[in-house]
């Protein structure tokens, strides 16, 4: 499907690379050497075969194998996504739990409304505002996410804080809202009442009985957010000039570099599938009612 999408894009590849003033014979020669003048099905077969063997094709623009670019970019994106995730998971869940324990009090209102407002804003808007505050006015954080070559772990982390914040904000709203509604439901349940009535301390009730049940739906949501996170990465990596998979796809799309574009999108598809699988697995581990292999 991705391959077809890429091929349907009109525009002569050779023409796009050589520019509008190139000689037609040169364009034809280039098209031939790239193999784009062969029939579609032949191209498709070759592409799938090579991809399965780890060869993702040759970039039209860089005239070099695609794989190293994609692998580099994927690594960079994972760093960024990981920083955002590691920040947002505990804070988002904590926010939702605090909101639920203070249901309908001012603290709940602030967390719920604040979370909702930042969630609906486009990432580049929160990104720009955060850059202005922390990068331009306070000068605490660097405004571009490209660290000096050979930088250590903490330097890299320092450069990644600002780009991960807009992603953090968008995810925070979702995760906090899910955790909040899960908590409210669990707090309202019979087993919580039983636990309270048998005289357990409130702290134990919350930790042992409420949290466990409340966090299950949250985990499912987090998995569905991976797809979103990838969409967000495209924007954030462009804004911060970060060499990740998002900006790779963006540049490839602009330059009609189809092998690069297809490899990039297919990689994202694989990452998404793996993330969904991990979430399913986690869900079954945490939920004793669903054990792998036991159902049906």
């Amino acid at each position: 499907m991705v391959f077809l999408g890429g091929q349907v894009l009109p525009g002569n590849v050779g023409r796009a690379i050589l520019g509008p003033f190139a000689d037609q014979r040169a364009v034809d020669a280039l098209n031939h050497s790239l193999g784009v003048d062969r029939p579609l099905l032949v191209q498709y077969g070759t592409w799938i075969w090579n991809f399965l063997h780890g060869d993702m094709g040759t970039s039209y623009i860089f005239r070099a194998p695609v794989a190293p670019f994609v692998i580099d970019a994927l690594g960079n994106s994972m760093k960024l996504g990981l920083v955002a995730f590691v920040l947002v998971m505990p804070i988002g869940i904590l926010g939702g739990v605090i909101a639920a324990l203070n249901l309908n009090r001012p603290l709940d209102r602030i967390i719920s409304l604040g979370g909702l407002s930042v969630t609906v804003l486009p990432e580049f808007v929160t990104g720009i505002i955060l850059i202005l505050i922390f990068g331009v006015w306070l000068r605490w954080l660097p405004i571009a996410a490209t660290w000096p070559k050979g930088a250590g772990f903490f330097t890299q982390l320092y450069y990644l804080i600002l780009p991960s914040l807009p992603l953090f904000l968008v995810l925070f709203g979702y995760i906090a809202r899910m955790a909040r509604s899960g908590m409210i439901e669990a707090l309202d349940s019979d087993y919580t009442r039983t636990a309270v009535l048998k005289g357990l301390p409130w702290r134990t009730v919350v930790w042992r009985h409420v949290l466990r049940n409340a966090l299950l739906p949250t985990i499912t949501v987090i998995a569905t957010q991976t797809g979103y996170l990838i969409g967000g990465l495209v924007v954030i990596e462009t804004l911060f000039r970060y060499q990740g998979i998002g900006s790779l796809i963006f540049t490839a799309a602009r330059g009609k570099d189809f092998p690069m574009l297809e490899a990039g999108i297919l990689t994202i598809g694989i990452v998404y599938a793996v993330a969904t699988l991990i979430a399913d697995f986690l869900y079954s581990v945490l939920n004793p009612r669903i054990r792998l292999g036991a159902e049906q």
């Binding site: 486009p122 505002i129 202005l132 990068g135 799309a253």
Partner: protein
Amino acid sequence: MSAADTPVGMPSPDAETRRSPWGEVLHSLLRSGTFLTGFGIVLFWVICALLGEHFVPYDALADDIINALAPPSAEHWFGTDQIGRDVFSRVIVGSRDILTVAPLATILATVAGTALGLLIGYFRGIVDDIVSRVLEAFMAIPVVIIALLAIVALGTSKITVIVVIGLSFAPIIARTVRSAVLAERELDYVAAAKLRHEGALHTMFVEILPNVVPPILVETTVRLGYAIFAVATLSFMGFGIQPPSPDWGLSISSNYGMIGGGFWWTVLFDALSIASLVIGVNLVADGVHGAFND
């Protein structure tokens, strides 16, 4: 006929205080602070989009290279950009394109999604199974990626942006309509229509459609917020509204490169405008949702 139905011509006991269902919804909307705040913000931007160019101090497209990158002052309230255009005028007039493209995309999504949702909800069976799986597959791909591919394929124009966003939101609306239709189609009035030998199309669009309007309205207002999100993002990426429009996302993308030089006024006001419009629409959506679910 169920016993709960009030016989025609017999006023219910509290006839004076009862309103029609729509009057009820309107009444609770007008008392909802969330809705009114959001409506005020959206109304402000709509007025700017319609009449903005008549009251802004400068022409939004006129450059004045000598006064380029001037900081905010009494003369230029929000300063000027890199070729001396007045940022205040551009921000006000910049609401026009996004407020044309995003609502049109939402309308397209609603019409296509409603028709599809009615069809698969009414016929169920194999049509529903196949279409629903295809829709799910579409919804798994981030909108930005679909849009990026489609727009590279079809070229950048307002029409492309409208069609791409409209069609990628249609599955979500179709899913909402489908689940509403599934509940409706079991009701007596649908059975009555079938007994009268009404055609499937008549039953779907004349009998069922009016009864599923509330969830469609709620979903449409929510989608409008996301459409604005998507249009702004695409414009920022260079795949949406094209120069020389003073559109907000576009302005940010052409000016944010100089942000390190401290020229904050060239991007801050555009960013705040997008933020206010998106939050305004979401407040409206929240209000509408509340009014129908009380």
